[in-house]
Symmetry: C2
């Protein structure tokens, strides 16, 4: 049957919330077939035959009806009623990307406009943006994600097929089976943290990993951009910070143009860029270019020459932070900024007589977490004036700092029982939360550790349904002590893909054998696209990685 | 002083044992200076200032006398009395490689023959091969290594400087300080095992890692070429082995031309290629293309359809092995072949009634290690006729198989105490041995595990001096279950560099801080040469890796 029917168009229907999301294009091609009804298409239930779909969509029905695709005839076009079209550069950029994924860059020149299409050939992908406000030029946001989460407008989605469904038949012909997919993410915030301070990450590495994030429906790049070791962010307001604090003031910095490029590259792929400027700890590199910002440590009655966390007792500190975060809020368009707040070492504060005096005056006694809270509260007030929301590491919550109700608490500490307790505590206090503890991908071990990452579930704690709804997602973290351009990409992928499916797919998608099978093929697809994603276990890819 | 003296030549003196060794060229450039005596050169003892020398030479004396080098004037030439010269392609190939390491490929065109040389400029490296038999066209061997080990012909080596000593001064000028080096390896066999069966390793990856082995004075590539998972070796005699047993018969095989290329590339860098064809276990992939080679396993009274180790009771098995190893001994020029012999699972043998009958006939009772020994002894007899020496994994020794006195026993099992006992046992039986147990680099863990690799010493066991002398070296092993082209190189380097120094440098070179400092710079040098060697810890390289 499939050889005689003539299908001419695929239709992609999208609720284009706020910013067209890469992941919607990647997987959701509505295969619109004039002459065939659902019954005729002989849908075959193949429960373990999801091929290489990753992350697994919420609903998939595969059929045996197959179509051929040719690079010379196949077109991606805007559907008649689409609310976004040729003027939407985000969309056009995506069309090119998907065309190249499907047919390879080499074949782009072989267009053949006069060619007659063959039987069972699919010649068009119609992209139908259904959202009234297409917002092709705006940035993705947590809100846009949330409205997409409620996307089961499945009356729009008939016989959906994704780029991931394209395969080569035994003669090498690009083919796709008629497939019904209806999908939405389980969590709105699906992030990856990269650390460009312990090691500088060249822009090329960041962009390649943004591209790979998009292939895995990761929608947040948490850019842990500065830390103790180096300050590569080139601030227009305080250029001395990178001039003095970067590993090198020219070769190891992110210029304003670099940052802009990263943000735009991410935007085109539906990825938010959330920068982290962690204070008051983790700030050694800040002190090099900003005198008096850090607390002088004392050895006995004299300054030792070393410095501790940000000095919380000086007005100049808060003047600096006001100006600095004003710049940050302008440079990074996302509605959130990550303010850190983790691991503040009190040793230096304790040694400093001026700090001790201030503690007395404030009536803090010897409780330095009160001093920490004092600092953080003033910082949060400052950032609130920039009209940004903020994310903070869990210590800030643990220390009882007063927080705005929309603050995101980022859980990263402890063993399984401890982080589950923390998730319960945070949500019972009414705060929204993000989980990272089980997903510290920098912690490597021998064997298939992706399975552990895959099994962790961020809603797996004792709490009410209302509490569970306050879990907006999670982030895989790849801290940079042992990672740079030489090994970041294979260490991150496909291990982060396991987290990506956990955060995207339905809660009951937990079959580890099925996941192994799909993820193995998905990792070869990443390799095929030039990404050195490492193997899960003994195996091979049809086309091995071309680099070294 | 250094600005007024005029130095015109460096002189490299080499005892070119059997095959010019890469490592001798890499580090040993005898800086021959006409007008300056040793006293004048103001040699300064800088005990922790070995810069980036890796592995650390046996004797180094640095001075402050510096010279400039220009790509336009600098030449590497054959010394007057050298026993090898322009007709030695191995040497000429090495000259090009070192010139490119020093000045980069880009500058090769800028030769300026008419240029006047400046003051304190070094214009020549004279390479003086002192060995009466230069053997430019032969292969490196264990014997050649041993005679090099006794190389302290330091009367030949005055003010030696190495490629690793070249640095850029504050103006970017290539410079080198007058330096006295006298050197030889502590162990003759310094190997790395790569596994091309669990994952196929493209030739490009193998060559890049051979190049990096040479940078680290590793002189043995132990090629674990086939195993259960796949048989990528294309045998001329038994082409069905790879036709049926490789992951893919064309894209995932090593053709005779590929193997030749690997061997020649290695030879030019002083590296021996020792292939491993592991039997009777680890042979699942062999069975696909060679019917009746493997033992049929039984389920009750019937064959289950699965297969076990090589079938040791059929004459056809030994006919096959004779032909096969005749080919191997011709294809691989090294005097040794690794015959495996590890991890034989007796379950299948036990299930098979024919095997049981044979056991009875031979009077083996239920001791299947006697059957294993029966097989191995016949195999060793076969390989002996090919005039190759053999290396075997420790089980063969442990099981009491009769071995030729020159057999190498490869220790790989157990914890520290167990492998030290094994080293003591093997050497007290008079056998030479290689250590790998502490150097299973496939076993990754979080943090600076190179320090553990660095601290292990292969002569650290209870035994006489005579026993210690039977330790000919060791090998770092990177088994392939979790490793392919995407992640092999950064996982291997610089972790294998730690093993390389342990096996090359003097026993008392154990300062971990000094090692950290030198290895950090050495790893950046590898990065500079295009090798994605991963970082040891938070840091940066002047030129970060250009890939992803």
């Amino acid at each position: 049957m499939s050889t005689t029917l003539k299908f001419t168009a695929l239709l992609l229907a999208l609720s284009l919330c706020r910013g067209l999301r890469h992941d919607y294009i990647d997987n959701y091609i509505d295969n619109y077939i004039d002459e065939v009804t659902e019954e005729e298409a002989e849908l075959v239930a193949q429960p373990s035959k999801y091929g290489s779909l990753w992350p697994l969509p919420q609903k998939v029905q595969l059929s045996e009806v197959s179509f051929k695709l040719t690079s010379s005839s196949f077109r991606i076009v805007d559907a008649k009623d689409s609310t976004a079209g040729p003027s939407c550069s985000l969309l056009q950029d995506a069309y090119r990307r998907y065309y190249e994924y499907m047919f390879g860059i080499a074949k782009r020149q072989q267009l053949n406009k006069g060619r007659r299409t063959g039987p069972s050939e699919l010649t068009e992908l119609q992209v139908w943006i259904t959202s009234p406000d297409s917002e092709c030029d705006s940035y993705p946001s947590l809100t846009s994600d949330e409205s997409c989460e409620s996307l089961p407008h499945s009356y729009h989605l008939h016989r959906v097929a994704g780029i991931q469904l394209v395969y080569e038949d035994e003669y090498g012909a690009k083919s796709i089976n008629s497939t019904t997919i209806s999908d939405f993410p389980r969590f709105a915030h699906r992030g990856i943290l990269l650390d460009s301070s312990r090691h500088f990450l060249p822009i090329k590495v960041i962009l390649a990993n943004l591209e790979t994030m998009a292939m895995n429906k990761i929608n947040v790049f948490h850019w842990h951009i500065v830390d103790d070791q180096s300050f590569p962010y080139l601030s227009r307001t305080f250029p001395q910070l990178s001039q003095q604090g970067a590993y090198h003031p020219y070769t190891h910095v992110y210029t304003p143009a670099d940052v802009k490029m990263v943000i735009e590259f991410a935007r085109l792929r539906g990825i938010r860029v959330i920068p982290e400027f962690d204070t008051p700890g983790h700030t050694q590199s800040w002190g090099k270019g900003q005198p008096d910002l850090l607390t002088p440590c004392y050895s006995g009655s004299k300054p030792s020459g070393t410095f501790g966390p940000v000095n919380p007792i000086l007005n100049t500190t808060y003047d600096f932070m006001s100006q600095f975060f004003k710049e940050i809020s302008a440079v990074f368009p996302d509605a959130y900024v990550h303010l850190g707040g983790d691991e503040v070492d009190f040793t230096c504060w304790k040694s400093n007589p001026d700090i001790q005096k201030f503690m007395d005056q404030q009536g803090f006694g010897q409780d330095y977490s009160k001093l920490e809270s004092f600092y953080i509260q003033k910082l949060l007030d400052i950032v609130t004036t920039t009209e940004k929301g903020y994310t903070i590491w869990q210590e800030v919550f643990d220390n009882g700092v007063k927080l705005k109700p929309d603050t995101l608490i980022h859980v990263w500490k402890g063993n399984q029982q401890q982080y589950q307790n923390e998730m319960a505590n945070v949500t019972s206090s009414g705060y929204r939360t993000l989980l990272s503890t089980p997903w510290y991908l920098n912690r490597i071990s021998y064997g298939q550790d992706w399975q552990g990452h895959y099994k962790a579930d961020p809603q797996d704690f004792k709490g009410t349904e209302a509490q569970k709804k306050l879990v907006i997602g999670g982030e895989a973290c790849l801290w940079g002590e042992y990672v740079d351009a030489t090994n970041l990409t294979p260490r991150l992928w496909p291990r982060a893909s396991a987290v990506a499916e956990r955060l995207w797919s339905a809660k009951d998608v937990t079959d580890i054998n099925d996941a192994f099978s799909r993820l193995s093929v998905h990792r070869c697809r990443m390799v095929d696209r030039g990404i050195p994603a490492e193997p899960l276990f003994s195996s091979y890819c049809p086309h091995e990685y071309k680099g070294i």
